[in-house]
């Protein structure tokens, strides 16, 4: 495998890395950057536990080669909260019981954050569709959908008042 120098901006911090061409972004995030909040569930794009935001889009990081992410801005679950202040989606997941084993949680939260940026006033069905690529084996999804919906509702209230 050939080695390549790449530049990643992960959670606002710049990294210059030498990576071989066959390594996935997930490998590099977990092993080189030691950001283990991004989970590996299948390594072939079936479960989306490894979702990160690449220039704002939710991406299965197991399917993206690290070299393809060169120059891109990446947000992992570790970059979602501002210090002690949680993102409203994180808070809603706790409050609504959307977390059980927690293995799908980082990917679910990142998918939801990206979705809510684009959809100010989503229906439940739109939320269901948005997270449909992210598998969860514990919750039955309802409390996750509740959590995402509550964030949208709270924003609506914020806009209208």
């Amino acid at each position: 495998m050939s080695l390549h120098q790449i530049r990643l901006i992960v959670n606002g911090r710049e990294y210059l890395l030498h990576v071989s061409s066959d390594r996935s972004l997930l490998d590099v995030i977990r092993e080189d950057l030691e950001l283990t909040g991004t989970k590996r569930g299948c390594d072939k794009g079936d479960c989306a536990a490894c979702t990160v935001l690449v220039n704002g889009d939710p991406i299965n990081s197991c399917l993206l080669l690290a070299v393809q992410a060169d120059g891109k801005e990446i947000t992992t679950i570790e970059g979602v909260a501002q210090g002690e202040n949680l993102n409203p989606v994180q808070e809603a997941f706790i409050k609504h019981g959307a977390v059980q084993c927690g293995y799908c949680t980082p990917g679910m939260i990142l998918t939801s954050i990206a979705f809510l940026r684009r959809n100010v006033n989503p229906s439940r069905e739109e939320i269901q569709r948005a997270i449909s690529g992210n598998l969860c084996r514990c919750t039955g999804y309802v409390q996750i959908i509740d959590a995402v919906e509550s964030v949208a509702h709270a924003r609506q209230k914020g806009f209208s008042s």
């Binding site: 569930g41 072939k44 079936d46 570790e78 084993c101 293995y103 084996r137 409390q143």
Partner: protein
Amino acid sequence: MEKRVYVGEGVSRIDALGKVRGEAKYASDLKLPGMFYGKILYSAHPRALIRKIDIESARTLDGVKRIITARDIAGTNLFGYDIHHRPVLVGVGEETRFVGDAIALVVSETLEIAADAIKKIKVEYDVLPPLASAKDSISAGEYQVHTGTGKSVYQSNPEAKGNICYQTRLIHGDVVRAFGKSEVVVENTYTTSRQEHAYLETEAGIAFVDGQGILHILSAIQDPYVLLEDVSYALGIPKSRIHIKGITAGGAFGGKMHNTIQVHLAAMAYLSRVPVKLVLDRYESFIAHPKRHSQEIWIKIGSARDGSIEAIEADIIADAGPYSSRTPEVLGLTVSAIVGPYSIPNAKVVGRAAYTNNVDADAFRGFGAPQAALAREGILDKLARALEMNPLALRKKNFLKPGEKTIAPLRGDSPVSLDLLSNRIAERMGPWPVSKTGNLRVGRAVCFDMPVFDVSAIPVLGKSGVGTAVELFSDASATVYAGGCELGQGVTTVLAQIVAEELGIAIENVRVEMSDTWTCPPAGRTSASRLTYVLGNSLILATGKIADTLLERAAKMLEINKDDLVLERGRIAVKGSPSRNLGLSEVAKACSNDGINLRQEGWFKYPEPRLMYGHTFMASAADVSVDVDTGEMRVLKLVNVHDSGKVINPVMAKGQQLGGSVQALGFVLTEDFVVADGRVKTSSLAEYAIPTSLDIPDEFSGESIETPYPTGPYGAKGMAEHSLNTTAPAVLNAICNAIDRDITVIPVYPEHILEAVRHEKKIERKGANYGRTV
């Protein structure tokens, strides 16, 4: 009674913050200095004699630390629950029994090197024909999967021999006579698929040997005590020199009760003397860990014209896979659960489980009861159709009455609340939907069950001793030591709620340490929805002792009789004059200064003998819509109601109900782990389809009615495991109701529905279901 602060409230999970921030550490997230990576070479064939294992070119690869084969194992090289007959590594001259049997272990500097090394190990096999069906296994000629190694705790059962892993029966009354006088008799044969747990976290762990020669194993597990037994027995290490720590689990559902990787991991670290990380990829996880037992259940029921049930008869054949494990317990539960929450005067149920060379079978949420519920509730609807009777009315007519005991061998003593359940579910479902529009048919079904939860009676090798310890520090913060396992179900939070409630301290000041064989009193396994009940009760005993000590010390400080004091909300106050009080930390500090012990253990044991369980009464109802032109179906409405006694955390309880119900939707509609001639055909989460967020019903709910269970903590019962049981039969029966035909196989695909509609007859398995093996 003073209002409770934590118990009964939807308190946020105490582990949720770390999980939403990505800070929770699962086994695959851990890294130790000088850590190596392990990989397992699995058998290339379901059944083969191993002629030769050549490790030379793998061993000499750069970066390979150690290759381990059977001859390197100093202990028995055998492990396994029930019977120690599962080889850690299959050696030269031995036969493999399934594709998940391990042959060699690689320890190397990187995972890439490990993968290379695995490819360079050359195994010469004599490939042999596998036993690929339980029925063939029962009638098999010469080939026996096991030749009598190991001793089972169940070997008192004389009929467990040859390829029969276990055989058991329930006989009550006289079924021959009862069927003779039955006015209506119907029968069916139900076939259930293997269900794969599909936890998002595959099996993973880290192990290392410390400077004192102690072996440490960190992994997501459901039974630290059986793991201790397995490692000690297989590798020949004294139990006192093994430390097992169950860490954050990414789901388990029964599948992590079996030690799929941990003994292999222990061998890697122990023999190579370096820290080792072992993580299965999804395919390895799929082939290596056991599934829900595929079963074929023939069931017959007879009743009087008015619907009074006279008799049930059933014959169950289960595919045990290659090893025993919990098959005897799972099959025992299927047999016991066949009669369900009904008053059945005569029953004959025979269950047999047979060894095969298919993937292994073991515990999965519900533990054999979901298969029984599917067959029983299915045949009840068929009986209702034959009687031209409303199926709910038929069930109500035959419900166990309050105070009446089931004839099932697993007895229970929970107050019977079936009428409450049926009333609530009828309310929730409302009037019957319009049954026909164009090519759409709508059907409805309501199903009931009374799954057991353990009250400390699990009759296995004395492993069910249930202790907990609580330490109150001088600042009135507390640590709980509880040997059960947090799998995502939320037990850590429930225990914190209980201790905070009992000691009157803030939940933020309670830390819960779980699943550690060095620090936690033995507590048995995490299964049978037992932890809230058994750990909760033992915690109340432990905190009671601490409270007593505190009251005694406070009485001295206040110069008053202990009986005149009360502990509440973090203070000890004089009854009747609350202004005269001491802060809990003040008293705890005084105890600490005086050397008075504030670490206490509580030991709980149910007073009744073995085979006494609690029952969680439950019901599910479903409305489905079926397109008779295409066979497509949709679950329009799905309602679940449980009586799990006092609910300690309603938000988490609802999460269990809905999560279990969706697992059951997968079981009945999409999930089929296909194995053909012992080989796995569904090798990824793309081929084995678990439900997504788009698969949940349009209207979907889970709720509780709360009949207090007298011996439960605050009246609580177990509930997490149970939520799966009634959904699958409710959906299957609703489909049958919609098309007015029998379907007796799950998962139900559109082609099954079409075939039933077009051919107007019961569907038999064929074609695509070749992998089904019973």
